[in-house]
């Protein structure tokens, strides 16, 4: 296993459909970077909680930004919070001739480990800027940076990427041989993310749309 891949562990080795699972570092990073939100799971009173959060990857650290509740943050502050962070991109609906072989084309990263609270003010400022920049490149200099009060009010968790896997399905449907002569249409219905026209806030002075916003929309 080279440094270009995350080493598989018991938890990241599936019991079935192993051909869909990979550990390539660049492929994992690409999915994390493309997705707007992740879903963060943690345990409260022995029961699971899953919340959507914003994330940004910086090297081999994944940073999470969002409300997890005071208790989870306290746990994170006191030695770490066990989390499972899952990021899923949906690429298409796969219509097979049989209902059973219907599927979805997707790319999904699962990262497990212990997340810790980011405490250092400079680290927090850098991660917040990276987060804004990851959502809209150019935006961190197109907005006012967080001040000390805002940084203090921001909870950020850091999850080192160690136990990580990428599951994907792509391509056409896989029908059973005995179904190939059925008269049903079969193929893929593509899904992707559409970027709409920017909507200026009410009351915004008649100002030109800045380059970073135009560049974002132009990528649709």
């Amino acid at each position: 296993m080279s440094a270009d891949a995350y080493p598989p562990t018991d938890r990241t080795t599936p019991s079935r459909l192993r051909e869909r699972v990979g550990y390539d570092r660049a492929a994992v990073h690409a999915v994390l970077d493309e997705a707007t939100v992740c879903h963060v799971g943690f345990v409260v009173d022995g029961r699971p909680v899953v919340l959507p959060q914003l994330h940004v990857r910086v090297g081999d650290d994944l940073y999470l930004h969002g409300s997890t509740g005071a208790r989870a943050l306290r746990t994170a502050a006191e030695g770490g919070l066990e989390v499972c962070v899952t990021v899923t991109l949906i690429d298409g609906l796969v219509l097979a001739r049989s209902a059973f072989n219907h599927s979805v084309n997707y790319r999904s990263v699962v990262a497990q480990g212990r997340a810790e609270l980011v405490r250092d003010e400079q680290d927090k400022a850098a991660v917040l800027a990276a987060l804004v920049e990851s959502v809209v490149p150019g935006r961190s200099s197109g907005s006012r940076p967080a001040d000390r009060r805002e940084l203090a009010a921001t909870a950020l968790l850091r999850l080192p990427l160690r136990e990580v896997s990428l599951k994907t399905r792509s391509g056409p449907p896989s029908d059973d041989p005995e179904d190939l002569d059925l008269p049903h249409w079969t193929g893929v219905l593509p899904l992707s993310v559409r970027r709409g026209e920017p909507v200026a806030a009410p009351g915004l002075a008649e100002a030109p749309v800045p380059e970073h916003v135009r560049a974002w929309a132009a990528q649709d």
Copy 2:
């Protein structure tokens, strides 16, 4: 609290930003029905696992279809598996004048409870048909239904919708009063799901695209 809303519980009452949380049954159902996938969290060895799965709502039951691993399925079969099912739709990026007030417009349902394995063959057949139908209306009669062997190989979990909440953010950015004169552009960058042109499977005989597939694509 009327029957048109899910009764709030300790677990579904947030400690902050309460104005973003609701319990309206129709609004919850609309989000569940619009989303292609959910993220299902459960606990294994005291640690969280979050996996993307397909889901379909039938009345006030949410059915989950996807691989959770043999152990989770065994737990589900032996009295139920505690799950947290989270469904998130992203509607836009919210660019405020300050980095701190950047946000996301979204609709997210969190449903918690004990999921049980669906055992009855007729129930399984009906739910699988409903699942196919929910992804592409008309598709359940446009494909071969599952046979007994396929039904036996399909694991379905049923989560009664009881502890459920809907969190939403919509509308323009909320800037602090002291930031309103900053020269930064502010507004919303809309995001939505694009439906692409159907791609027929290789080798598919030259057959017309059926009405249910054309209707799906026409909704883009």
